[in-house]
Each structure stands twice: as C-alpha cells, then as structure tokens.
C-alpha cells in the first residue's frame, strides 16, 4: 500500500485548491476541450460529498439548474480543473448531504457559517 502511494505521488500534479468541506458552496472552473479549442466552464453549487483518497479522491457538487437538480463528480487529480473558489462556508451536521436531494427551494438552504 505504501509503495502504491509513492507511485501515485510521482504522478500527482501540483495544485493549490482552497480547503472546503461538505456544505460549502464552491465554484469549479472546469476546462472543456472542443475540437482543438479550450474554454472554461463554471460550475457553482453545494459540495454534498467528498470521498476516496489518494488519486481516487473525488468531490460531488450539486446545483439546481432550471428547477432540475444537477450533480457533478470531480476527481481532485483531474488536470481539467482550472481552479476552485469557495463562495460560502455552510453549517452542516453530516459529511454526506444526500438529504438535499429530497428537498427543494427554501428547505434546501444551508445556513452560512460566520467566519
């Protein structure tokens, strides 16, 4: 296991994303390649899950787009992530916020943490 970690670290790309937790609202700037053109798409939503470790660590961002819930899973190691900005720190009591999927509108709000 230890040697696998060393091997994974040899491939790791340097990244300085801000620290965030479940319940935080973040914006992910994601590079999208179309043909030979590259553009950056923003995906803003609530982090509902951080799972895995090492090169397999991922986080899931949920947002409501045109009244439809959209979730997107990003690997931390993905070279397509341009940057991550934390917009809000939320107050939540769970690590996995799957209960948000059943809630709509005002009920799906998360209290903001005052820093």
């Amino acid at each position: 296991m230890d040697l696998i970690k060393i091997a994974e670290q040899a491939f790791a790309i340097e990244k300085n994303y801000p620290e965030f937790k479940s319940g935080d609202t973040i914006t992910v700037a994601y590079k999208i390649v179309e043909g030979n053109k590259e553009r950056i798409q923003m995906f803003r939503g609530v982090v509902i899950r951080i799972k895995g470790q090492g090169t397999k660590k991922t986080f899931t961002v949920r947002k409501i787009s045109d009244n439809i819930g959209v979730e997107r899973i990003f690997p931390f190691e993905s070279p397509f992530i341009d940057s991550i900005t934390v917009n809000k720190h939320g107050v939540v009591r769970r690590a996995k916020l799957y209960y948000l999927r059943a809630l709509r509108g005002k009920k799906a709000r998360i209290k903001e943490k005052r820093m």
Binding site: L3, I4, A7, A10, F11, T55, K56, E77
Partner: protein, 205 residues
C-alpha cells in the same frame, strides 16, 4: 534488451497529461543480483542468471547456499535466466529498476491466479444453453457433445472440458512503462498483470 525480476505490488489509476484516467500496475523490480554468468565456452550459450528477494539461510539447501556464495550473496527466493542482456555483467553485480527506460514497451510474465476446478463456460468460454424452456432440463452450463459415436469410438485429445483453471504462466506483451522510480525500485506499467498482489513477475524489454 535487459530484464528484471519484480514483485507485483498492486494496481492504481493515474491521470495522463491529456486528462485520461489510465489503469496501471506498480511493480517493485529489483534489486536483482547476478548469481551466474553463462558463456559459450562453459555452457554452450550466453546467459545471465539473476536472483531476487532474500531467502533465510536455514530455508535454503546447501547447494543453494554454495551457489549464492560463489556470487558473494545470500540465497534468493527466485532465480531467472535472461539470454537477452547486451552488455556483459559481472558475477555479484546488482541490477536495479533504472535499467528499464521510461516510455518503452515491456513484456511481463507471471503466474495467473488459480481459479480451481471450473466448468467449460468459465474455462473455455462456451456459450451454455441460454434457454430454460422448450424442454430444456437443468443442463444450462453443460458442454454438450464431445464427439461422434462408433467412429472414432474415442474422445479426441485436447477436447476442451472442465478442469483446473488458472495457475498458468502468462505473458502480457507490450505493456508501456509509464514511470520508473529508481529510489524505491518501482516500475509503473499501463494495464494489468497476471497473478495476485505480492506474486513474482519477470519483466523483459
């Protein structure tokens, strides 16, 4: 064309520069010790015998200990002969993972995982029956006919039947070396290898 003996550590996945997730296997290759150098004069052909992983002296036979002493080393768990070394190696020389270059293709040989006694569907990829009605009884995974009747009155040799599966020597060809880490003697190749974690494999370039 160098070769090495290694130990399969396990699999992981890494992202390539293009953003593709690549499955890869980590091998701890070396340090291997040259335990015998065969030459045309003495043995009729040129080859190099490498040893990998130490064995306790109490578990080694006396001939093994003597063989290792000739090379000035301890008895090894695995000895493999390589005919393809280009440069001449000295007895007792240590070979590490950095003889394998990055971004080349290698062939890796190992012993596949034993699967036990398996039927023809698993072992030879027979289709099975695939039907449970129309008079079909409980013979869904049976092999069917294994030959004709009074002629030839026997079953041909090599007929594919149920039996022991796995535990064979398997060579995977043309695996691309993604990275070599000489400090830990690690070689990372794209794709999977035969055998369980911790099993010994032979890497040949």
């Amino acid at each position: 064309m160098p070769g090495l003996i290694g130990k399969k550590i396990g699999m992981t996945s890494v992202f390539s520069a293009e953003g593709k997730s690549i499955p890869c296997t980590v091998i701890e290759a070396g340090p291997c010790v040259v335990t015998q150098v065969k030459t045309v004069e003495t043995d009729g052909y040129n080859a190099v015998q490498l040893g990998f992983l130490d064995k306790k002296e109490k578990n080694a036979t006396k001939p093994e200990v003597g063989h290792a002493q000739k090379a000035g080393t301890t008895p090894k768990r695995k000895y493999v002969e390589f005919k393809s070394f280009k440069n001449v190696l000295a007895l007792g020389e240590t070979i590490t993972a950095d003889i394998i270059a990055e971004d080349v293709v290698v062939d890796v040989t190992g012993v596949s995982k034993g699967k036990g006694f398996q039927g023809v569907v698993r072992r030879h990829g027979f289709g099975g029956v695939g039907q449970n009605t129309h008079g079909q009884h409980n013979r869904n995974r049976a092999p069917g006919s294994i030959g004709a009747s009074s002629f030839p009155s026997r079953v041909f040799k090599g007929m594919r039947m149920a039996g022991r599966m796995g535990g064979d020597n398997v060579t995977i060809k043309n695996l691309r070396v993604l990275k070599v880490i000489p400090e830990q003697n690690l070689i990372i190749v794209k794709g999977s290898l035969p055998g369980a974690k911790g099993s010994l494999v032979i890497i040949e370039q």
